[in-house]
């Protein structure tokens, strides 16, 4: 097959995914919404979520427009003819293009968040209604709801990158295609800018409501979770949607977009080699990342038809089946893409093995890393293994030992994470080197392109992973709707089972996101170095051949990068604490001033808590967001372009590890509580230590501590790491001295 013919698959896969998502959405929306009581709760949740998203996106929208203007002006000023990577467009034309790309990226990122939420607030009640009848039906509704979000977000990222690439002349071939990847970096920056605030605001909202509601309801007033007498319950249910759905949608949108653009920039080097070597279709090296992801999207569509099972089956198995189908089909797609697009006209790599085979191997490393992280996360956060049991055992001696044990587990998870990432990086780099892509300066650029291919391999399954992730908050919400509307016990039982599965899938997604961020990190700062050197070549400056840690400004910038990760997390965690405390104060006030609440004769003022949480979350997201954006700019301006690269790399390392600690520690605490609640913890005589025991209370403390770790700070760190990369990429000319 011809490489340029294969490129047609990009719009086809994108449009097919959108069409399939519409089909799934119509299917979900046509389902039974359950009794009126359920619909009432669901409507209240939807109103709260809509109100938050509207206000949040107004704020973010204003910030994004401001950001676009500032970036446009800065680029216009600094990207003069002697500096610009595309000299013909130096000055205002480049500034305007970058500003527009930023804005388009920001709008797509916002759309991803809205889509994620739109469908989840409608799937929750339908899942709850389905749970009154059948497990499999409930799984299907929730998974299809999640898949709508997964398909649309990934398709939007694919079509968005492709569209802006086409708009900036990327389809023209030759030099135009060569230049276009550098013009679209603003798209990635816009996407991560919005994702940062979406994840922060949503993360603060959801966990403040969760922590506040649990502390004041379960612990102080002694009423069950999601009990309608608790005025903070609606805010808690709204939070699942605005944090886990909208936030994660924007997060994965920007991940796929930014990593895609980074891979395309690296493809430019391969393009140049292909062009000078006279290989057919040199542009294919630049289009490769888009094509390989298109195959991943098609694989995911097929896998949806494998999500079926028996009523008595573990729901996780049903989801796993689909994941393995996606992975297997992705391997096939990867083989086709590398074989067709990496046509070297007969030139061979090491050991006379064709070039495409080496890169196919690198892509397999990416897919294998994805699978590895699915299992690693399970080991550390599922109740069947040592870590969670250890935390549950430690709960017997109270909350202090529970916390100590959870921190030890969280720290420990960095070991296998770092080793796996290290192996993946070195293996994919080595495989890439064997392909012998040597440029005119005699440098083998295949290694870094190998890591890019591995990253793209890993991203092939993103739509499926995102669908599983959104499954989590939908089932969590369905449980809330069932409890709140005092539905049949059987329905709540089914939603509880699904909720436990959802906890696992949410944790898996975070492991996946972190692993892909680490692979991508290396790719993104190689793209930064390429961009700096393109500028330096135009300008006749000294090339950046090394980011030297022994240089004092690089070391200090690295120190600040690692610090930023802690400081940012501190602000995010504190924001949750502050917001939760204002919720607690309000709910206590309602209990005190409205005595009828406890015997159901008075309806709590849910709206007021939703409103307080909304305002607090939006206020609290500004400082950490501003710190995340301002710090790299300040360091770059003060310490220069080599130092900022050091900050980016070490900040990434620190961010990936701290996010691992926070995500897995939080997940393990959560499941240690569930382990005790399911009656698995025994005393020395073999009696069950279950709910309402001191050990359970201790485990609840751990779970609460883990909430802002795993759902606010951790996921926000994913975005922070990408934002560092996109900021440095876009503002590189500003930092060069």
């Amino acid at each position: 097959m011809d490489a340029s013919a294969l490129q047609v698959i990009i719009p086809i896969a994108g449009i097919a995914a959108v069409a399939f998502a519409i089909y799934l959405a119509r299917d979900v929306l046509s389902r039974d919404k359950g009794p009126q009581a359920m619909q009432d709760v669901a409507d209240t949740i939807r109103e709260g979520a809509d109100a938050f998203i509207r206000r949040q996106y107004q704020t973010i929208g204003i910030l994004a427009v401001l950001g676009a203007v500032i970036i446009g002006v800065v680029i216009t000023i600094v990207e003069t003819k002697d500096v610009a990577d595309v000299p013909d467009l130096a000055g205002a034309p480049l500034g305007i293009r970058t500003g527009i790309a930023f804005l388009v990226g920001a709008v797509c990122s916002m759309a991803s968040g809205i889509i994620g939420m739109y469908i989840s607030v409608r799937s929750n009640v339908r899942t709850a209604a389905a749970a009154r009848r059948s497990v499999v039906e409930a799984v299907q509704v929730a998974m299809r709801g999640g898949a709508v979000s997964g398909f649309l977000v990934v398709a939007l990222s694919l079509l968005g990158v492709w569209g802006i690439f086409a708009a900036y002349g990327g389809l023209g071939g030759g030099q135009a295609t060569h230049d276009a990847p550098f013009l679209i970096v603003g798209f990635g920056f816009g996407a991560s800018f919005v994702a940062l605030f979406a994840q922060l605001g949503g993360g603060i909202y959801t966990k403040a409501a969760d922590v506040g509601s649990d502390l004041v309801g379960k612990i102080e007033a002694g009423i069950p979770e999601d009990d309608p007498r608790n005025a903070a319950v609606i805010a808690d249910l709204v939070g699942d949607n605005v944090g886990d759905c909208a936030g994660r949608g924007a997060d994965l949108f920007e991940s796929t977009a930014a990593e895609n653009i980074g891979a395309m920039i690296l493809g430019v080097a391969a393009f140049t080699i292909a062009q000078t070597s006279g290989w057919p279709h040199p542009e294919a090296w630049i289009f490769f990342p888009l094509v390989v992801r298109s195959f991943g999207l098609l694989a995911t569509i097929v896998s949806m038809f494998f999500i079926r099972g028996r009523e008595d089956e573990n729901p996780m198995n049903i989801l796993n089946r689909g994941y393995w189908v996606t992975t297997a089909l992705s391997v096939v797609g990867l083989a086709i893409t590398t074989n067709v697009m990496m046509n070297t006209g007969g030139a061979l790599g090491a050991n006379n093995i064709p070039v495409w085979v080496w890169f196919f191997g690198a892509g397999l490393v990416g897919l294998a890393t994805s699978v590895a992280f699915v299992y690693i996360t399970q080991y550390y956060t599922a109740g069947t293994f040592r870590p969670v049991r250890e935390i549950a055992e430690a709960s017997k001696t109270g909350p202090a030992t529970n916390i100590i044990s959870g921190v030890a587990v969280g720290f420990e998870t960095t070991f296998v994470t770092a080793i796996s990432i290290g192996i993946a990086l070195i293996a994919s780099h080595w495989l890439g080197e064997q392909a012998h892509l040597v440029n005119q300066q005699g440098t083998n650029v295949g290694g870094i392109f190998g890591t890019a291919v591995a990253t793209m391999g890993m991203l092939m399954t993103t739509a499926y992973i995102l669908a599983m992730d959104t499954f989590g908050p939908i089932t969590d919400n369905a449980g809330g709707v069932a409890e709140f509307s005092r539905a049949e016990a059987g329905a709540r039982e089914i939603t509880d089972r699904l909720d436990a599965v959802g906890n696992t899938t949410k944790a898996l997604t975070k492991g996946y996101a972190i692993a892909s961020a680490s692979l991508a990190a290396f790719l993104l700062f190689s793209a930064y170095i390429d961009k700096v050197n393109l500028i330096q070549t135009n300008r006749g400056g000294v090339l950046l051949t090394s980011v030297n840690l022994a240089n004092v400004s690089v070391f200090v910038a690295a120190l600040i990068g690692a610090m930023l990760v802690y400081f940012f997390s501190s602000l995010a965690i504190r924001a949750v604490g502050t917001t939760a405390q204002s919720i607690i104060v309000e709910v206590r006030r309602q209990f005190r001033e409205m005595p009828g609440i406890m015997d159901y004769t008075q309806r709590p003022d849910y709206a007021r808590v939703v409103d307080i949480t909304t305002r607090a979350a939006l206020r609290e997201m500004v400082l950490p967001g501003a710190v995340a954006v301002a710090t790299p700019i300040a360091v770059g301006l003060l310490l220069g372009h080599e130092a900022i690269a050091g900050m980016l790399m070490v900040g990434t390392i620190a961010g990936v590890l701290l996010a691992t600690v926070l995500n897995n520690g939080g997940g393990a605490w959560d499941n240690a509580k569930k382990y005790i609640e399911s009656g698995h913890l025994l005393d020395e005589q073999g009696n069950v230590i279950g709910k309402k025991t001191p050990a359970h209370a201790a485990a609840v403390v751990g779970d609460t501590v883990g909430d802002p770790f795993k759902d606010t700070a951790g996921p926000s760190l994913h975005v922070l790491v990408k934002l560092l990369a996109t900021i440095t990429l876009v503002l590189a000319p500003l930092f060069i001295r």
Copy 2:
């Protein structure tokens, strides 16, 4: 004055400090030991501490001998004539010298630990006895006891480095002096090897006993802290001595030794410049670090006479007075040393300012950093400021919010830490550059020597800081002795006041140790690069001019270095949890099987708990210690000499930041509890929320969580960071490929 005349001050200051320490020790030992009940407790504590130290040092001694032999053999094999930094000694002569230096360093480090403990287990009862009469007398006894340890440890480090330097021909002048610093790096490695195990074993012991005793006594049985009915109390009191005294003594011994050797290696470059430029006494540049520390030691001796005050004065003020005297005299000493020893025969630095003035400025930066960290730590851990109050306020809503708030504070402290270190590094580097020390290759090596001078400036006050630090466990123990022997309420009241001050001084020491480790880090890996390049020059290999983070093996090594810090901490924290649980089980058994304990008719079996804790702590220290030693060696062997430099640098950054989080977070939790106990926390109506309230219980949970953070993992990380540096320095030839 002549530079070589000034060198005489090294043995003079060392011997003066030893003599002064003996004078102080005799003074302390001649004091009243209080009533028989007190002496009995003190004897029991001393026996337990002696038993632990004997068994611990047997284990460590065996490990050290093994280590010395292995290193000797490895160096003999790898340091062949074409590789060795001192070719005349290649092979066995160098191997034997390095092995002996390792062993001498190890023995000195062990001696430091034993000294610290010997005097502290005798000062505690005398402080308790003095507290029956007077605050000032109690402060004097505790501070003099602490100063014995401070003086002997620092003198031992000074005389040890000087002695081994002299033994290896360092006093010979010319080439012999030039070579000697490279021969003594084994000393630093031996010191940090022992310090690691001493700090780990002691840290696990002390916090396991503390956590176990508090949980089973205060929380489960509802009896006061240090109550004689609690079988774990003696183990807890033993722990103060073996962890805080013996451990910290070894820690600061190896810090001063390793940093001193690193500075001397950097001095070799200045020596060569001085020699070729014909400046008088080129050796002075190598001796400078030893001389400047000697002045610091003399300054500390003088300051001891200023530790006096009024009965009604805040004891912290009395200690601060001495600290400021030390600092002021150190400035004078620094001026004299730089002026005399940095004689450039008229050659000037930038702006025609003499060279010594620029370095004097760099030294002042070091002293200023020391003062800055004293205030930073106070801000974050003292009850008078926002962070501790915030945690105390958060305790009102239970343990979960207390923990969340404490983690936020711990993370936040990295901000000002990293910024201060960054400023100190850049300022001292810049000042050093202005001195225009240009070598034959045209490289300005003044910058890095500037950071070395700053580090030495900072280390001038070590003896005083260490004395203040040891003051902490002595007063803590004195309180325990008073409570246990049921002494007068007035005595316990005074020891409580001193204990609170001791908490602050212990926190200050950790801030100081971390700041000096960060300045030293840059110095130590510059020494590593110098050593690699000396070897590469001899061998005709490629010089290491850059540690390039964009190189995939450097990046992966950096990732592993940052991970090691978490993984090591995880092992250390888990060791505390595991050991504490076995203590809890034993004490519960005694309460159950010996019912007379509660009404004082039966004496608990203290010895059994001491024995269990000893065995568990020694068993548990092995794994983290082995991981800390083996990981850098494995990474160096697998990924090579540039990668290991990346691991060292990023591991240092990660270690410094995580230690800051753990130390300050733990300190803030501790003092938030004390804040509530002193009745500063008020409810909305202005009523005091004091002891025995749910808020206080929540704060106790935070304090317990913070214990292994601040006293086991945090301080062990200080040593880990140094160990990374000394391992890479000594084993450099093994990693070069």
